[in-house]
């Protein structure tokens, strides 16, 4: 095995171009488990820790650009206000020690259907900034997951950053597990309401985790809810609408029976989480004085 150390982003891209089989390592919270438990032995490790360009985030207009080296701990501390859904999900990852090392880019690199970063990224419409010596590709998160633990990166590409729109309304993340910490999701759900002043821009975002071969959006549920919510009038949530929304979210998933839960349980739990998170989000929307404008 080789240990490749990139000191700058340019050097990282060159190393990855020369050695496309090298496994990038950031927090190591997925990579090292595989090596320690002898589940796979990479030909080479490409350490991205020293790459200073990756460790920051910036605001670019309506977008937050989160560098690939930003840990969950920093997402929680520094981005809780602008990216609340992502920060909530980050809070449920592993333990403090895991959140001190683990990154969103690593979550995307691993592309586990159970990764907690995926549902909020799907719900808010995030974009993966993939780069190689050939140039930059902007890949919408919804197109990034190509199969169980597979993603759209080319062998010579690295994730430079994840671009996420600053929240334009309430966002919530919910996750089912046996404990409050150290839990791989039985299933998870994220919602984002975009209560824009422009009616045509009002939007509902969703993300489902651990209930299909890849994380995915509940597209029909989003369209249904966006059409039913009383965005401008601001009336209370119609229970029948919430129930139907939950049903459509559950219908979008394709869960299986496995050690963490049964398919039927996952479908049921998704409907419940969808209904509840919608309730919380709509409550916040009304309280913030949205609607009735």
């Amino acid at each position: 095995m080789d240990f490749l150390r990139a000191r700058t982003w340019a050097e990282a891209l060159e190393l990855k171009a020369e050695r496309p089989e090298a496994t990038p390592i950031q927090g190591g919270t997925d990579v090292m488990v595989e090596i320690n438990l002898d589940k796979g032995r990479p030909a080479a490790l490409l350490d991205l820790n020293p790459v200073g360009e990756l460790t920051g985030w910036s605001r670019e207009g309506e977008w937050i650009r989160v560098g690939a080296g930003v840990t969950y701990a920093r997402l929680i501390d520094e981005l809780g206000e602008v990216l609340p859904g992502l920060a909530q999900a980050s809070r449920t990852v592993g333990s403090p020690q895991i959140r001190n090392r683990g990154t969103l880019a690593g979550n995307l690199g691993a592309a586990s259907p159970a990764g907690d970063g995926h549902p909020p990224l799907l719900a808010s419409g995030g974009i993966v900034e993939a780069e190689s010596v050939r140039g930059t590709r902007l890949i919408p998160v919804a197109e990034f997951y190509t199969g169980v633990k597979r993603n759209a990166l080319a062998p010579d590409e690295l994730i430079r950053a994840v671009r996420v729109p600053a929240a334009a309304g309430p966002q919530y993340f919910s996750k089912i597990g046996t404990r409050n910490a150290m839990v791989i999701a039985v299933c998870s759900f994220a919602i984002a309401l975009d209560g824009s002043d422009r009616p045509e821009a009002r939007r509902v975002g969703t993300g489902i985790g651990s209930a299909a071969p890849t994380p995915l959006r509940a597209v029909a549920a989003e369209a249904f809810l966006a059409g039913e919510l009383d965005w401008a009038g601001g009336s209370a949530l119609d229970e029948e609408v919430a129930r139907r929304f939950g049903e459509l979210v559950a219908a979008a998933a394709a869960p299986i029976d496995d050690v963490r839960g049964r398919a039927a349980y996952r479908s049921h739990a998704l409907a419940v989480m969808a209904r509840r998170t919608l309730g919380w989000a709509w409550h916040d929307y009304l309280r913030a004085g949205r609607g009735a404008r």
Binding site: F3, R5, T29, N36, L45, D47, N100, R101
Partner: protein, 168 residues
Amino acid sequence: MRVNVTVNGRRMAADDVWEGESLLYVLRERLGLPGAKNACEQGECGSCTVYLDGTPVCACLVAAGQAEGREVVTVEGLVCGDDPAGEGGLHEVQRAFVAAGAVQCGFCTPGLVVQAHALVERTAGRVPEDAEIREALAGNLCRCTGYEKIIEAVRLAAAQRTTATPSP
């Protein structure tokens, strides 16, 4: 490969390190620092918790090469005073674990002490709420104590904390 790393304030070098090796293995097997424990090697138990550049992490999940040129503090590095080998040299978090009876077999203790140390440093000046303590220690498993005495030890350490305490 060779890995150069500052551990507990001393510059050290480990030779013949395998590229896929963890920082935990280097500390225990190559640098003679068995304080951090190896229990799961998959980040689940926290018994290998050490500071890496001031942040508590699972040493079993840091590739040895990633520690190159960085600063590590292990449980051994928390001792202080002129009698580091005796009980007088123990850090107040360590003393609180002894006083509260928070140690049974002791396997989880080094990781818990480092993680508790980080919490007490962060909340300096106040005693953290139980919920906050539980959250901070959620990544450290103990098979013996049932956690009550450990939480008591953290409360005790936080209460006794004086501003004169040296910190790593």
